[in-house]
Subunit: 259 residues, 5 copies
């Protein structure tokens, strides 16, 4: 994921520059500091009105998550859970205590700890599902910041263009300057569109699909941990958990009998 | 939240003024009273058709809430609830009676009072959940007023521009006046866009995120109060409530064993 | 509600007229019968294709409801229900029979009648909730007619403008007439926008908020009637019903102890 | 419904023709075969990519349904169900066997047959509700075809206009032809808008409201049939079923006592 | 489905070419490599930012599914399930073991295997429903890739047009080149619109309707398999399953008695 994200972003800008140069334009035509300030600065100000600073301060974190998404391997998780089920069948649930230390993913660790502590199954379900729900709604809220910015950027681009148009129309006498004036006016809309469609909207989509994977992973954990506690047959546990996966990913998990 | 809201609003307008001045324009070019009346007044009239005056009269209250949002500290709430659980374990639920007076947040107070009055748990849940649901739908309705205005403002901006265009086109003979006429026509669209994208839409988003925090806070209260009444172990209560929080906020609440 | 609705509508049109006159235009510039026919008539025809006449015939009723909304006072309702609870506690449910006649609101009347007739509580709930659900979906459908019209009006405005543009472009020789032709072409879009954004969309919003109040009122009735039948303590009944209200409206209902 | 549908469609086109003729245009200005092919043909091709031919082949059926909607009279249905309830109270459920033949509506027939066959109530509910759900989702899918076409038509109109603009701009030398060229370019957008806003969107809305009526009718059947089987008192059955109707339609069903 | 998909796609492009040639244009006017790179390449880069490469790599698979959709015949499925019900009634559930090998559809095979293995019915339901839910959400996510691209393509078309406008306006001196420059600027918007409205949006709709059929098919399997296990009467099983079908498809399944 890491590579495609960076390549897409960099290549996207290179293509735009190529499009300008090949048509005989120059990059200087597309640089106008006041336009940058109106589009980027203005939409950022609207974002400050929309969200408390403590939340906006987390935006770099979310950019980093898109760059280095957590590696959640559902196949490995199922293998782990099935092996735990086999072990606990032979040696009892408490035998899992030693394995918890080797588990790194905190959500799975928490679920297993609850099982070893013999907490009531319904309570485990409540604790884990609240955690998934709240995680999902937090991530949705964070993703929405980028979506909102993606909506504000072209709007401030348009505001900048309207400002340029008004000033141009008032000074319509100087015909020679109409073209350059209009060009500058249009640049804010261009800035807003590039910021929204090349950077912010794709970033929001990206965060959304990371959240989707995390929810899938944690749903498997919940079902696995509860099955573990109720002492399900490992083979049936595998059947249940495998249903979460797309068919091609099941191949590595199932031997012929299971298909 | 207070600071960012004001800074965003003020800085946003300063940036627009800067954009005008740096391009050699003057603020006077962007002031036209009839345009103000059409865009602001017209969209406000449409709002009066949309909502009863008694509801519109509450809009300043909502502006004030965005400026001075209620301080709802979920971490402190959990600490309080856990300490109550410990106390009630030792001294019984009635021992909480004295603590209720020191609680300031009215929703938590109401919930605790219900517990001390030994009201039936299912009834407590109903009373508290109706209150959350109705609060959420009331806040949604109030936020929607700003959203609706944000939709009407650019529409009335466009209506003003269409009016200006018609008048300009009928008087097309006077070529010298076409530019200034068009400039004035475009100003209503500019007003509508600034009102919508710098003020109203961000304000509605802001109110939405305040509501989200309030729902989270009150959901913790409901689960905490009901656990208190059912005599849950304080350690398990903490586990449950902590699931509502984002992982970084849990650190201060959990000691090593709990992680 | 009555006053704001009419004032908003009338004042909105006055502001538009003012905007025209102050800019040196005349109302005659904005009157063109064929444009009226295309925009209003055309969008009305599309509405006739969308909905059976029997439903469209009810539109004036909905306009009247927006003008004279039903007066549903939730505070009075709660006071009534609590007084009924006190009476039935002392004198039995049948004692309410005499009070039913003094109740005017038909939904509350029906609910109380069911109680006095000792109909099974689950059945009362079903009957009353079907009525609320069907009322809500009927009102939604009716509100959608105005929303649909609000979407069609600017579309037919645009169709009229496209027609005007085509005719103008074919007759481009007569330069002197281009301006007036274009002006007329734009007028249909202007008509569509005013119809949609000053009249229809606000009217639909208005109907929506009336429905919201009615649902709230009837939900209080359902919970109140069922509590009445199950013989709830009047003080607890008040607690339950008060949860439906916004905090400021509770003040008049609760004495110090209840807060 | 039949009359309004046809009148709306025909009158809509007449109004557009009137708008053209009264402005001194001619219908020939608005006829351009290649534009018809691009807008209608192109959007139809996109529809063929969207849906299998077996589904598109059903579109005339849906047009016919909009013209001749099924006559589902909820008031008559309730009268029938109540009379069945009275009969079965006196003579037993099996006495209804003879009445089933006189029932024409297949859904009611099926429900009554299930009752007479003494099928388990929960099973009857499952069978009938699956049928309603699947009917609703099928009708939604069919309605969506018209909605999708209504979205594609203006898009292909715009594609045609862009094509015309490109060709006109390349041949900008011949100033005399710019107007007519532009006129033809704009015609595709006009075609797309008329197809979408006068025909397809209203047709989709129409189908939607027919589905709504059918769902209401069948929901009454389900509740009626199940009440019949459980031997509900006819008066209570009437109360239940009447809750589905809007208040004005209840008048004919209820005698004074019931109100 | 196969034929219509290809015919729609090919015919759509032929119609656009015809529209160009009949208007006296040439295909060369519509070919501009830098515009291709900006619109297609730019929107593809934004897609790479939005989704990990491992997911984008599956897009050809989804294109192939639209071309060769799985043949899921619900009528045959019901016939098969009813015949299994008859057999298992006479010879017991284990008699189905031999038939499983002849079943090709993997989901039905899995369900039958579970029945023959006498897995607990609630567990079978959980396993099969998780599989349907996860399949639906995976297919939705995949379809959304095409939807997102369909949204990005016209946006990058607009970005290209803005770039062309800026460059044209800066070089406004050379009046002779304004037309051709503008023509090239508009081509990117044309490319974006054709890509979105002729290819991507219809493709996404197509995948959606394939998913809908698959969910219907698998829902019938779940209900059929569970009925099989609970030993339902084959005639009642047929009644239940037939409720999933549209009325015309039922004819072949039901003999006179069943109607």
């Amino acid at each position: 994921m890491y590579v495609g994200f960076i390549v897409g972003l960099v290549l996207g800008f290179i293509l735009l520059v190529y499009g300008i140069l090949v048509a005989g334009g120059s990059l200087l035509m597309f640089w106008d500091l006041p336009s940058v300030i109106i589009t980027f600065g203005g939409s950022w100000c609207a974002l400050m009105v929309s969200y408390p600073l403590s939340i906006l301060a987390k935006m770099p974190t979310y950019f980093r998550i898109a760059l280095f998404p957590p590696r959640l391997n559902a196949v490995d998780l199922i293998i782990t859970l099935v092996s735990f089920a086999e072990k606990s069948r032979k040696e009892g649930l408490l035998a899992l205590e030693d394995d918890i230390d080797s588990v790194e993913e905190p959500f799975l660790k928490k679920g297993l700890q609850c099982v070893v502590d013999s907490i009531d199954p319904e309570l485990i379900r409540v604790i884990l599902e609240i955690e998934i729900d709240e995680m999902a709604s937090r991530h949705d809220a964070n993703k929405k910041i980028f979506d909102d910015w993606a909506g504000l950027a072209p709007s401030f681009g348009m505001i900048g263009t309207l400002m340029g148009l008004v000033m141009m129309l008032v000074n319509l006498n100087d015909k020679a300057m109409v073209g350059p004036y209009l060009a500058v006016a249009i640049i804010t809309t261009f800035y807003g569109a590039v910021l929204a469609y090349l950077v912010l909207t794709p970033l929001a989509t990206n965060l959304d699909s990371i959240t989707g994977e995390e929810i899938l992973y944690k749903s498997i954990v919940v079902m696995g941990v509860l099955s573990l506690q109720s002492g399900d047959n490992p083979r049936i546990l595998k059947q249940k958990l495998v249903s979460f996966l797309p068919p091609p990913m099941r191949v590595s998990l199932l031997d012929e009998k299971d298909v």
